[in-house]
Symmetry: C2
Subunit: 329 residues, 2 copies
DNA sequence: ATGAAAGCGCTAACAT
DNA sequence: ATGTTAGCGCTTTCAT
């Protein structure tokens, strides 16, 4: 059996309450007794039982993190960021993968809500109403989503797309395709809006190729549409889709970037590893994860902070080998 | 505040223990009282507090999962498998990423151990002694590791390497390079052993290129070594390393598979997405994750089961575009 | 500065 | 078949 606070108390010759205070680094114990307690705790390998503590304090020191699909390389970065910060703040993290299923997500969130102090919903597919209902019961931070009254960490999708469009326009492209993501993904709307605004301003034609699931096969399908539409550059909703574009273009003997340029979004690790390497919009995934934890913890510690806060992190175009000058008209 | 068992008891006009029994579907309550209790619980939206329950039953219904690096696309598959099965069995999962740090891993495991019923250690870098000490305190299942007395889920690395070697030999390769993984990774040893045995039996020469961290850059470095050693085929410790090989070979103008063939291991999603697509050894990641949960839960329910059990899952060579006939001598 | 006592929400003997 | 009691490990009044 693991040592309890009583064991430590006995070993240190004090009462359980003193041990509790000493461990909380309270100023209410003498330095000497504190040392004695800490020493005893160390010797016994004592670790407080969090469940028991939570029962009395009402704080579990657990956080929940829900992501649509861990297999999408975009999310592990966020998970890492969340975990790093959570562990620093002495919190453990329940991670749940919804497999892109909005119904499963609501159920999962409800279950998790019972065992955590707060939760981070990443690229949630949940409806606004369900999200609000959840936020009424528990502290919630969303990532890549904007809902009034709910704390959010976002990346500057609009700015990123503006950079991408500017880059392609500078290379002489006049007709750009966009393979959009799921229609219920907030980020996809943002990116589309950004792209529409940017291309209009640049006098560039934007061809919307439709909505796609954020998977490789979507890029494969979109490549054919892009070629048929006569575009000289295609932007994928994310890097995985862009990798699908790359693959299909190469399969059809279309040289990248000589005949068609390709841009992704996310800057997943593999963007730099494939060939041609992928020009993409880098999102600060780990930083976003850390920021989400910070925001959540501040919400927890200061109920007044309210849910209105929304942070926006910068994005940065990373130019690699998959984009080049437009072929001569 | 959420409703407690007392609230339900009051509403149903019974004692808390009767509520507890009714909810546990015990046969010790009349059908009528049970209905009354269930009804009251539903009306109040009552959900038992798991922490409180855990405090008395000693079972948290939480599982811990430790992986070296979520950014390595091999692990998300396992996480998904573990979660799927755990949720089915009404358990939640704490996931922790150690960033390949053996010291951090031990600390993390110790912390997590306090809040879970059992834990799954994936490709752990922990020493045998520490592992045994941990297993003495809590139910443990390891994946990709074999330690006497500790339950394990493994994949047939030896068989996989045998298939890979056989494939390359059949294509006429007589000199094969191997970029091994970290020396403290059990799977790497296994693969090396498998490869040594297989090549010896086939009359093929095996060139061991050294130990590498399981990252892209390692493959880049290994490619140069492989070329210098005059091998016509190279096997990477895993797909990420193989992707590095692919990238460097292409960068140096060495055609794959025309001049050099490349084989990976794991069958991460991106193996099929890059070009040339990667011949690799598919490991059943999700299945392994599910099996680990099953094993862990059986350990938990039946202390007699002991820790000796070791399951081995099959591996399967997947031939794609990165391997071809050996160039003529 | 420290100890004693109460109680967080729940289950599991032990009564009845 | 149901209620009463005790206690899981911890924090937090309230005493001293």
């Amino acid at each position: 059996m693991a040592a309890t606070i009583r064991d430590v108390a006995r070993a240190a010759g004090v009462s359980p309450s003193t041990v509790s205070r000493a461990l909380a680094l309270s100023e209410l114990v003498t330095a000497t007794t504190r040392d004695r307690v800490l020493q005893a705790a160390r010797e016994l390998g004592y670790e407080p039982n969090r469940a028991a503590r939570g029962l009395v304090t009402g704080r579990t020191h657990n956080l929940g993190l829900i992501v649509p699909d861990l297999a999408n390389p975009f999310f592990p970065g966020i998970v890492k960021g969340v975990q790093a910060r959570a562990h620093d703040a002495d919190h453990a993290v329940f991670v749940a993968d919804t497999d892109e299923d909005a119904v499963a997500e609501v159920k999962l969130a409800r279950t998790l809500a019972k065992q955590v102090d707060g939760m981070i919903l990443c690229s949630t597919r949940m409806g606004d109403a369900e999200l609000r209902a959840l936020a009424a019961d528990i502290a919630v931070v969303v990532m890549n989503r904007r809902v009034d009254g709910i704390a959010a960490i976002n990346v500057d999708n609009v700015g990123g797309m503006r950079q991408a469009a500017g880059h392609l326009a500078a290379l002489g492209h006049r007709r750009i395709g966009y393979a959009a993501g799921p229609s219920n993904a907030w980020a996809s709307q943002q990116r589309l809006d950004g792209l529409r605004g940017a291309t209009a301003g640049l006098g560039v034609e934007l061809v919307e190729l439709g909505n796609f699931a954020p998977v490789f096969a979507s890029g494969v399908a979109a490549a054919d549409l892009a070629l048929a539409a006569g575009t000289t550059a295609v932007i994928g909703y994310n890097d995985v889709v862009a990798l699908g574009l790359l693959s299909r273009l190469s399969g059809r003997g279309v040289a990248v970037p000589d005949r068609v340029s390709v841009v992704g979004c996310d800057d997943i690790a593999l963007s730099a590893m494939c060939s041609p390497s992928l020009t993409t919009i880098a999102l600060p995934q780990e930083r976003a994860g850390r920021a989400a934890v910070d925001l959540l913890l501040s919400l927890l510690n200061d109920r007044a902070a309210g849910g209105g806060v929304a942070l926006e992190l910068e994005t940065q175009l990373v130019v690699r080998a998959s984009t080049g000058p437009a072929p001569d008209g």
